[in-house]
Every structure is written in C-alpha cells, then in structure tokens.
C-alpha cells in the first residue's frame, strides 16, 4: 500500500517536473518562435496593389523563416474564387489560417466556418469578431494625422474633394470617420457634396477623370483646396489631374505609402501633399508571429498595431527614403 502510495507520489512529482519543464520550454519559445511541421493557409483577396502584395509576401516569407509550410492563395480580386479557396482550405485542415482583406460581408460567414472547424484564424487589416488577432496599422491615428495635416496645409479653410467609394471596407470607414471627426472642429473646411467614388479596377484613370471634372466645374483658383482618399491609388490619379489642370494650389492626401506616391510627396513641385505610409511587409510578418505565439500556447492580444509614418512635404526626404529602400529591396517599384 505504502509502496504504491510512494509510487503515486513519485509519479506525481515526475509529472509535475515534466509539466514545469514543458512550461519552461514554451516560455523559451517566446524568444524563438517556430512553425516547424506546421501548415499555414494564407488567403488574400488580391495582390494587385503594392500594399496587398507586400503584406502577402511578408506573411509567406515569415512562415518559411519559421520553418512552416505555406499554402498561399491569391483570389485575384474575385470573391467567388476567394470563397472557393477558403472552402477547400478548411478541408485541408491547416494549423492556422491568415486572411488578408476582402469584403467583410462576403467573408464573415466563411470566417465563422473556419472557427467552427477548429482552425485558429488570424487576419491582416481585417477587423472581424472571428479572428484571434488582427494585425494592422493604427487606422484611428493614421486617419486623424492625415486629416490634421490636410487642415493645416489648407490654413483651416477651404473645400475638400473626398473619395468615399469604400466605406464598406473597415479600415476606410475608420479613416473616413476620423476625417469627419477632425473636420468637426474646423467648420470652415467643407467636404464637397456629392462625394466622389473611387473604384477598383481602373482606380487611377477614374480618379483622374473625376477630379478633372470637379476642377472644371469649379474653375476659380482656390475654390478647391484639397483632395482626400482613404488609400493612395486614387491619390495618384488626383495628383496627375491637379497638375494637368495647373491647379497647384490643390494638394492631395492619401494613405498606404505606395513607392510611387512617396516619390510624389518627395518631389517639391508635385501636388501630393502627404501620405500616411504603412509597413505592409512588417504587418504581414507580425501576423505570422502572432499565429506562431498562439500555436505555442501563448496569449495573443485581439489586435496588434504596426507603426505607420506620416510623410509630408517637410519630412519627405528623410522619412520617405526608408520606405523606398524597402520597396526596392523587395523588387517592387
């Protein structure tokens, strides 16, 4: 009896020791993340924009660095295809899924199915209740900073052309709402109604013709002070239109930090006023780190913000360069 008791105690002690050492190991893995032997599914709605491509690459590169296998799926901006890919992905039962952007309304029921299948879900720039963690920029900050920069450049008064075609995209909603919030303190800055609508595809061409039309409609210099968009591809078309119409008093503002736009802001003669430059590659990598931490049994916060930088006319030469260098390193122009 006592012997068996002793045995039991011994077994318990051994078990406890084993548990402690396991805990120690998982503690150590905080520094050294690993995805060895893990398969991670990555689904992106499309990679035709700089931001999307860089984030998509960041995710894949980091999974490989950590020794994991990637199932990389690019839906080519087709909702049907993304849904089909997610459906097949669920059947493949990867250890985790990272989802990057897309129409939330379309995605949510399928993200729910991912969770129902017991697969941990992480998102990039996509706020959904189904994700364990969403890695993104602090869009509340970005939205307010770019709006304040615009108001400052306008001297606190004037009319703004606003592209608001993607209010259904969560990050655009936040940035637009922040713009409105900032403007509520500056009653002399007015948004021209009706607002403009940015589109995908042909974003640049469409923005160019929209802004050209609006400038033609308000021919007096100073009648329009700025153009705002929740991302920077419409900003390219808007900047070109402003310059073509020789209306250099109009400045353009956008968010994301495509190399093309950063170069525009760096150019003192360009009408591009400022751009909030995000770090999509880092965002992609960070989301993988979050997935790896979660799979190692660590706690992961519901969202992670990767810092963004406001690049404006004053600081462009210094702040813009690292972004251009990163783009060049990645081979994207």
């Amino acid at each position: 009896m006592t012997r068996s008791m002793k045995g039991l105690v011994k077994a318990l002690a051994l078990g406890l020791a084993a548990a402690c050492s396991l805990a120690a190991i998982s503690g150590a893995s905080a520094e050294e993340l690993s995805l060895k032997g893990k398969r991670v599914g990555v689904s992106a709605i499309g990679t035709d924009h700089y931001w999307d491509l860089m984030a998509f690459r960041g995710i894949q590169d980091r999974v490989k660095e950590l020794g994991g296998e990637v199932i990389a799926l690019d839906a080519g901006r087709k909702d049907q295809q993304q849904i089909a890919q997610l459906q097949t992905l669920i059947a493949q039962k990867p250890d985790a899924i990272i989802e990057q952007l897309g129409n939330l309304e379309v995605l949510n029921p399928w993200l729910q199915k991912i969770r129902d299948a017991g697969i941990p879900l992480f998102t990039v720039d996509t706020a959904t209740p189904h994700a364990i963690n969403n890695t993104t920029s602090n869009n509340y900050n970005i939205g307010a900073e770019i709006a304040l920069q615009m108001v400052a450049d306008m001297g606190g008064k004037g009319n703004v052309l606003v592209f608001n075609g993607f209010y259904s995209v969560p990050v655009c909603k936040i940035r637009y709402d922040q713009l409105k919030y900032v403007l509520s303190s500056f009653p002399d800055v007015k948004i021209v109604e009706p607002e403009l609508r940015d589109v995908i595809p042909n974003t640049v061409q469409s923005a160019y013709s929209n802004v050209t039309d609006m400038l033609t409609k308000s021919p007096e210099k100073g009648s329009i002070g700025a153009v705002w968009a929740c991302w920077d591809v419409p900003q390219i078309g808007a900047t070109q239109a402003v310059e073509a119409a020789s209306r250099n008093e109009v400045k353009t503002y956008g968010i994301d930090g495509s190399p093309e736009v950063i170069k525009m802001v760096m150019d003192p003669k360009s009408s591009a006023g400022a751009v909030a430059a995000q770090q999509p590659y880092e965002i992609g990598r960070t989301s993988v780190d979050n997935a790896a931490k979660f799979l190692a049994g660590q706690k992961v916060p519901p969202f992670t913000f990767v810092p963004a930088v406001l690049v404006n006319k004053e600081n462009a030469a210094e702040k813009g360069k690292p972004f251009l260098d990163a783009a060049e390193k990645a081979g994207v122009k």
Partner: protein, 343 residues
C-alpha cells in the same frame, strides 16, 4: 417527326462531307479528340494519386458546390452556341451572360434589402435576366447584328445598369431562401450542390431527350435545312438567348447565397463560362456543344483549381492552364471542322 428528318439529314450531310474529304482527317480528328480526353484523364489521375484528400467525399461535394454557379451559366452559354451554331466568329455566343448575372444579383439583393420577400425578389431577378436575354435576341435576331458584337454591347448595358443600381458597392442580403441554400442539405449533399445536380438533369433532359432539343440542334447546325423543314429559326434562336438570361438569373440567386451579398466584378466569370462551354465540345463525337459535355468540363475546371490548391501549386497556374486548354480545344475544333470552315 419533322425534326427527326432534319436531324437525320443533317447527320447524313455531315457523313458525306466527312467521307468526301478524307477518312484520314477523320481519323486524325479522332486521335486528337481522344488525346484531349486522355490529357484530362491524366490530370485527374495525377490528382487522385498525389493530391492529399482529393478523393474524399467532402472534398468532391465541395467541388460540385463550387461549380454550381459556373455550371448554370455555362448551360446558358451552351444553349446559345447550340442554337446559333458553333462557328466561333459568326455563331451563337452570349458575352453578356456573366454581367447579366451581376445585374440580376444586384436586383435580387437590393430588393431583399428593401424588405421585399424572396418570392417577389426572385421573380424580379428572373424578369430582369430574361429581359436582358430578350434584348440580346432582339439585337441578334431582330436587327441581325453579329452575336459577338450584339452581346458585347448588351454586356456593357448590363454592367452599366448594375453599377448604377449598386454604385459599385457590396449589397448585403439575407433571406429564408438564401439561408436554405447556404446551410440546407439532403442525403449529405448540400443545397447548392443539389441545385447544380437538378438543373443539370433538367437541361440535359430538355436538350438531349426531347424533340425540341433535336430541333434546336438542327437550327444551329443547318439553319437552311431547318428552315426548309418548316422550323422557325428566329424563334428558336431567340429562345436560346432568353434561356441564357434565365440561367443568369438562376445563377445570380446562387451567387448571392454563396457570397451573402451582391458584389461588383461578376463579369470576371465570363472567361470561365466560355472555357466550360468550349471545352465541353471535346466530349462529343462530332465536336458539338452538349449539356453533358459542358457539365464535365465545368467539373473539370473546378477540380483543376481544387487539385492545384491541394497540391499547393500556386493558384496563378490555374488561369494559365485553363487558357492553354481553351486554346488547345479551339485549335482542335477548328482543325476538325476544317472541311466545314469554307461553309
């Protein structure tokens, strides 16, 4: 009765033409056709052996489900090609079908979000789809415009109307019918997969087991002969365009159920729809489009994307392989029809 005669006559004239040209060509055609089918079979066999989970029932039902929308659209396209003749430049083709589906989906989702019930909303979507089909029929049959150009113009009309209606936004939708299509299942097969199975059975029955279907083949294959036999060629051709519009409307309900919304960009499906309808011809002995052939090629396209994903081959390859296959099939088809080309 008259249809059977026409069909027999059509078959006979084909025979004489073929034997008249050369038996060698016929043999070569057979070889290429079997070669194409063998290539399909080889790809499938490769997936079966190497793609993990490819043959699981769950995966196969997924593929059927993923093919439902493409399938219904491809049937519409096939009907138009059967009725208008399969000459690639002058024959029947409906380039507006995918855009039409987008428009119907927008109408359906918008009406649902405005609080109209399923019954009215579905009815409206079908009415819009068939109206667009009727517009195609008017342009092709009434005004005598080449189908390629007529339906291209209607594509733009439909796409424009969809943009006007939705302002290029996502229109969310939910309803009892949509809920049923998403989560309903019977005998372990999901509602969406059933939709494809039942719709397939219906079109195969109509086109291949009724005298109506036979007459339609006669109209498409040999319009003069069909006319001489007393068939109203314009009526039959018009029917195919309206049917194509109907298919677009049915597909729109399926697509709204799958995406829980109407979304911009439906036009993207056109290439796959054309691919399915054209690839389907290799499954027919005389290189004519058939509903069964279309079903097989729709499933093939679905399995291709699925197999690549399971093998972890980049999804970028799918488009390339699909395009290469279209090129191959169109080349084979033109080669096989070499003798008819001068017609």
């Amino acid at each position: 009765m008259s249809a059977t005669i026409v069909q027999a006559e059509a078959g006979a004239s084909d025979e004489t033409r073929a034997t008249g040209k050369s038996a060698g060509r016929r043999f070569a055609t057979l070889v290429v056709r079997l070669g194409a089918i063998a290539a399909f079979a080889a790809i499938m066999a490769y997936f079966v052996v190497f793609a993990p989970g490819f043959t699981s029932t769950f995966n196969l039902i997924n593929v059927v489900e993923q093919s439902a929308i493409l399938g219904v659209l491809a049937y519409g396209m096939t009907a138009v090609i059967i009725g208008g003749g399969s000459d690639v430049t002058e024959g029947g083709i409906d380039l507006s079908i995918a855009a039409n589906m987008g428009l119907c989906a927008a109408v359906y989702a918008t009406l649902l979000s405005m609080g109209y019930g399923d019954f009215l909303s579905v009815l409206a979507a079908i009415a819009v789809g068939m109206a667009v089909g009727a517009l195609n029929a008017l342009a092709v049959v009434g005004l005598g415009i080449l189908p390629l150009l007529a339906t291209l113009a209607v594509l733009n009309v439909a796409a424009g109307m969809e943009l006007t209606l939705t302002q290029n936004t996502v229109v969310g939708a939910s309803s009892p019918l949509l809920g049923f299509l998403v989560s309903g299942s019977f005998l372990g097969i999901s509602a969406l997969a059933w939709a494809l199975i039942l719709f397939s059975a219906l079109v195969i029955a109509i086109f291949h087991y009724t005298s109506f279907g036979l007459r339609l083949y006669a109209v498409g294959g040999h319009p003069e002969a069909a006319r001489a036999a007393g068939l109203s060629v314009p009526l039959y051709v018009s029917f195919t365009y309206v049917l194509s519009g109907f298919c677009a409307a049915v597909a729109s309900v399926l697509t709204v159920s799958r995406l829980s919304a109407s979304t911009p960009g439906s036009g993207e499906l056109l290439l796959s729809v054309l691919a399915a309808a054209l690839l389907g011809t290799v499954f027919s002995r005389r290189f004519v489009p058939t509903m069964g052939g279309t079903l097989l090629s729709v499933l093939f396209i679905g399995l291709l994307a699925n197999g690549f994903q399971l093998l972890n081959v980049s999804s970028y390859w799918v488009n390339g392989v699909q395009g290469a296959l279209i090129l191959l099939v169109v080349a084979i088809t033109s080669f096989a029809r070499g003798s008819e080309g001068s017609r």
